[in-house]
Symmetry: C2
Subunit: 337 residues, 2 copies
């Protein structure tokens, strides 16, 4: 056993609008000898996710905001380098929520050993095989269930959740899967790699114009990562008994003002629609079902994924901001090892 | 058998904004001898309902708009005066959808015989014991189910659906039922007669100010008859996993412009809320369950109701407009007999 220095990124200001590098600081923490029942983990990848923006605000919410002056928490995957807990031995690959740091030393109960699939990089356990994939799965099975033959629309479709959701929708029986993304390059990726039937660039014309063109028969399910104009356009074309999973509203996360909701809420009544919001914490009971089905799909080559990897803990804040700006395709992760 | 003159009210213009008497005309139709399998019914009461405003517009919808130059359809209850159909004999009390007229003569299949509860006026079968009561029941059992101990908020609470919904919410186990209405008189009726725990006049201060005062612990279920500011205020205070039944948006029915939606849609995600719209036609499978439970509640004296009765077919249009303006307490009906 030995002492080690852990580099950690902390939130020091609550951002107004877009976060800046000045809202964060990097500190060094010295870990001494490992107490009994603890493990020391060297992270390989850490996750930057849209939901983190919300937790930077000091608003009443189901999960408390990030603490000022404390290390940013969030998903990470690493390898155990020292252990005084027999249930989590050295060399285990573990997932945890200790966030933006290179080394973590905590009680063994805070870590979950990954059942590795041979040949899969560890970053995938933060993305398609992890919380990101589970988010897409929960949305399309419980929140807005996809039925055989459905037309499904997914916004932010080239993002981490969206690129997985499109594929899951097809695997669940959807006939037609339509995606929106913020560049022509991403739009091409959607149909070429992620199995989308059709896709459009929401920056090139109003969503309200483009979506009906791609969905002449309407849509049955909408998986919303964006909110705003996308939700409004979806409410225009949702078929009777249509379902909406509200997963994210990245269009509003950095807005300093509240924004008006859709001007066509009356369609919810007329069409008998269901809109349901969700955060993953309420649906972890689906995790084992997801792990089983996703492993099978993955091993059968029925799921592909992209990721955007940024190197170096010191680039984490920039990676987070790039992800919020949509610079990523697929899951954005930071390689710390 | 004899000839008879039927007076019928027809829609002749599609109103823009508030309907006017000029949008309607009254015609006389002469019915001759009753064909085989038909019945002739003299109406006793006809129903005027908020949903009718929507059908006056020529918009794509799940049910076609009212036809111009045709008699207004809608709920009515009357008595069979002649019959050539053994299954619907003379003197039967029947419900039907032939709407705004004093006499109707049609095939027997278009009529449903009422199982009368002794001492109950026939108008109740259009309201608390009929479609109105069923609407409240569907909303609080299927769309936004009430659980034991819930706090329930109901807007337009003194209206036909709202005054029944408050009582059903209590019977389903709600701890606290809060209602909004548009006058101090109605507010008093809510707590004194309809079992509401608390009520407020939405015209005396913003709903967003008043609702949190009446719901310091938040709300679990919102039954929305109004839309607009009421829905926005409800989204502010809905507890985790809260449920919203979107039944009506009377605040917008006569608006010539679209109105922006709630500015706090993000709460749907944060709080894991469900918003579901409905129209009764999709939920008629609950009718027999409702009839059973409601008859029991009613016979036990656990349900009370108000109605506003307007006399004379010739006052139907005015009654409809008064109802849209909120002049009624409880169900608004027109006595035609």
């Amino acid at each position: 056993m030995s002492n080690v220095i852990s580099h950690q990124i902390q939130l020091v200001n609550r951002p107004t609008g877009w976060p800046t590098p000045e809202d964060f600081r990097t500190v060094e923490v010295s870990y001494g000898e490992l107490p009994m029942g603890h493990v020391r983990v060297v992270n390989e990848f850490i996750s930057v996710d849209p939901y983190m923006r919300g937790r930077m605000n000091d608003t009443k919410s189901y999960i408390p905001p990030f603490e000022l002056g404390a290390t940013m928490t969030g998903g990470a995957v690493g390898r155990v380098v020292e252990s005084t807990a027999s249930e989590v031995p050295v060399d285990s690959v573990v997932l945890h929520q200790y966030g933006w740091r290179d080394v973590v030393q905590e009680e063994a109960a805070g870590f979950r050993i990954v059942q590795e699939i041979p040949g899969v990089p560890l970053s995938a356990y933060l993305g398609v095989l992890g919380m990101t994939g589970l988010t897409a799965y929960v949305g399309l099975t419980r929140i807005a269930p996809v039925a055989e033959g459905d037309t499904v629309f997914i916004s932010g479709a080239a993002g981490a959740v969206g690129s997985t959701a499109g594929q899951i929708a097809r695997l669940l029986g959807a006939d037609r899967v339509i995606g929106s993304a913020g560049s022509d390059e991403k739009v091409a990726v959607l149909t070429e790699r992620f199995g989308y039937t059709a896709a459009f660039n929401y920056k090139s014309a109003p969503v309200r114009t483009q979506l009906p063109q791609e969905a002449p028969q309407g849509i049955d399910v909408y998986f919303d990562n964006v909110g705003g104009d996308h939700l409004e356009a979806a409410l225009d074309v949702l078929n009777r008994q249509g379902r909406v999973a509200l997963c994210g509203a990245i269009s509003a996360y950095n807005s300093e003002q509240t924004e008006p909701g859709p001007d066509n809420m009356a369609n919810i009544i007329k069409q008998g629609l269901s809109l349901r919001g969700f955060t993953l914490g309420d649906h972890m009971d689906l995790a084992s079902e997801f792990n089983q089905r996703m492993s099978t799909w993955f091993s059968n080559g029925q799921i592909t994924y992209d990721e955007t990897v940024v190197d170096g803990l010191e680039n984490t804040v920039e990676a987070f901001l790039d992800m919020m700006r949509g610079a990523n395709t697929g899951k954005m992760v930071v390689r710390t090892a």
